[in-house]
Amino acid sequence: MKKFFTTMVAGAFAAVSGISAAVADPVKVGFVYLTNPGDHGWTYAHEVARLDVNKHFGDKVETTYVENVPEGPDAARVIRELARQGNEIIFTTSFGYMDPTLKVSKEFPDLKFEHITGYKRSGNMATGNIRFYEGRYVQGVVAGMMTKSNKIGYLASFPIPEVIQGINAFALGMRSVNPDAEMSIIWVNSWYDPVKEADAAKVHIAEGADILAQHTDSPAMLQTAEKAGVHGFGQSSDMKAFAPKAQLFSSVNNWAPYYISKIEQMMDGSWSTGDGPDHWAGNTWLGMADDYLVLTEFENMPADVKAAAEAAEAKIRGGYNIFTGPFSDNQGNVILKAGEAYHDGNLWNDMNYYVEGVNGKIPG
């Protein structure tokens, strides 16, 4: 899979490198990170993509990043400073930078801003996101087939649309192969808190869960799974090194094609914030079909599970809409009938329930 992706991108690189060769001064590109690349998750994936940008453009771009920027007034100051230092396009890589990015984008109308995972835009501020939930559907298929106790433990960060989409996609995948499996959610209330994540994983295991999944960023859950002899999925980047026996696969966020295409658009003048009612969730909201989300090798599972996982992956890559009916919420209310499907706007506006197979209710 990874190899496939590399050849794809390498081909794309070769095709476009001729265009950008005309640029003389390096274009300065800024990145703002929530934690540091050592988190082995979210920020690490962004750092890998930044290095890919360097590799792709060579001396045509100069990238700068600032790490550990809290989601508050400091963010605006750091973004502003990057703007003043001559960065022509600035990527802010966490939801909490939304309003600070918006504020600064208005102060620097000539520069371009790209905010990751938010929903606000301005004339020179676009948004980008990955369809993380697609990988979770495949995780659900694997979990549904692998579980013996029929109990899946899931760590969630915050009850926001992105996370609810992930939970429901996982459950739909799980129920597509195992109508008896159920999943329980523990809200960690943090994106990155290895201690809390490990504790929550222990609670799930104590309650009988034999497969763990996460919508948090650290490898702590998988490390706990490894010690307890259960299985789980890595998130954002490949976490195999932390749990060689426990990891079934990781859903890896591949931001490189997004960064590269946006920088190229800026260079050739075609950059825009786009519009359209369904795209406000992200001007760029792509998933597995475009290699924005990449699954690592399927491991530690029997051949039939692996085959099912590969089939599910191929189906999504082929354009299958995960949120296609029939399905009901966990109270028994029919959400979509057979033949109906959600479009992107529904995912953000209407998904305020858990689908069948998920225990409990959304907090707040």
Binding site: T64, Y65, E67, P70, G72, R77, E81, Y119, P363, G364
Partner: protein, 369 residues
């Protein structure tokens, strides 16, 4: 045996020289560390101390960063002078933000002249009430205010977290934990200097912070309550003979510092964040403790100390942006700076004496006989 002997008369020259020597030592140690890690030491020091204040707008931003520190430390000076250890300013700050946020979000239609004063009063009330918990537990049950105030910080953090996720969440926020944006009347505006325009993000809250530091100085040095605070801190027995009530002083200083921290929370939200969110302070309540000691518990010196600590913070960002220096290295350097300044302060107030332990001395004489 090394012992610290308090100096009776501290010469002025020493007081002036201590911070200079401390900063010089920081520069030397810092340069060695930077060079060892492969950074140009002069360039690194430039990024830390000069680059963050090389443009007028950055000087404005320096004051903005120092603003909450100065406000909180102006209140903490009272506590620490009275030997009352309020470690929970962070929580009091959050309560101040929540109370003022209640005013801003519940009465969005208030005109500016009513909104601002009401928000300030609400924030003071919020911080004060939160500080009253350790105060009353201490005076009534003799609990330890360090533990109580510190632990209430975590309670406060969970409280605001719950509020912005639940009851006060903006229905239009797609489930994200944010309240509505404040109306303009509830926002602190930036200062427009005649002929110059805006100075970075410099806002009126900074003026308030400076006034609070001066006010704290006036109360401590010119008013009876200030005298009471000092006496109860330095010589509680003498204070009791003079008829001062220790309980009253404890309640008062915790109240003052709580109210000040509350104002800091309101200013931070109304000037910089414009809405409530789960994280509104990033350790200002704790950093302000360092600022207070750096200022030798002197409210006027709090201004300078706040600016120094803010500069170290901004310098860390600038070194990251310009040199790609990791945050951990900038953190270490910041730590060295504070360590040197506080160590210098200790050398200033105490002199060192190396004495042999008495038992060893006895043995020594015994051997001679």
């Amino acid at each position: 045996m090394i012992s610290l002997i308090p100096r009776k008369d501290i010469p002025l020259a020493l007081t002036v020289m201590t911070p200079i020597i401390a900063i010089a030592l920081t520069l030397i140690v810092g340069a060695i560390i930077f060079a060892t890690l492969g950074y140009d030491p002069l360039q690194a020091l430039y990024q830390f101390f000069i680059a963050p204040v090389s443009r007028p707008d950055q000087i404005g931003d320096l004051f903005v960063k120092a603003c909450p520190l100065i406000i909180i430390a102006s209140g903490l000076v009272f506590c620490f002078r009275a030997n009352v250890w309020n470690i929970g300013a962070e929580g009091q700050l959050i309560l101040g933000a929540v109370f003022s946020g209640y005013v801003a979000l519940t009465f969005p239609g208030l005109p500016g002249w009513a909104m601002m004063p009401l928000m300030v009063i609400a924030s003071m009330l919020g911080g004060l009430l939160w500080a009253m918990i350790p105060a009353l537990l201490k005076t009534r049950f003799n609990t330890n205010e360090i533990l109580v105030s510190l632990m209430l910080t975590y309670v406060a953090a969970l409280l605001i977290d719950w509020i912005v996720r639940g009851p006060w969440r903006d229905p239009m926020s797609f489930g994200f934990p944010l309240t509505k944006m404040y109306e303009d009347a509830a926002l602190i505006s930036r200062i427009e200097l005649p002929g110059i325009g805006y100075l970075g993000q410099l806002h009126w809250g900074v003026v308030g912070a400076l006034l609070m530091a001066v006010g704290a100085w006036f109360v401590l040095s010119r008013m009876l309550v200030g005298f009471q605070v000092k006496v109860m801190g330095a010589a509680p027995r003498a204070g009791r003979f003079a008829g001062f009530s220790p309980s009253f002083v404890t309640v008062m200083v915790l109240g003052i510092s709580g109210a000040a921290a509350g104002v800091a929370g309101m200013v931070e939200v109304s000037a910089n964040i414009d809405q409530l969110q789960p994280d509104i302070s990033f350790g200002y309540g704790f950093t302000a403790i360092i600022v207070t000691f750096l200022a030798r518990l002197n409210p006027l010196a709090v201004i300078g100390a706040g600016l120094v600590v803010a500069l170290a913070e901004l310098g860390g960002d600038s070194a990251q942006i310009a040199l790609g220096m990791p945050k951990v290295v900038t953190g270490v350097f910041k730590g060295i700076l504070l360590f040197m300044l506080l160590a210098g302060e200790t050398f200033n107030r105490f002199r060192f004496e190396i004495r042999l332990p008495r038992s060893a001395a006895v043995k020594l004489t015994g051997g001679q006989n």
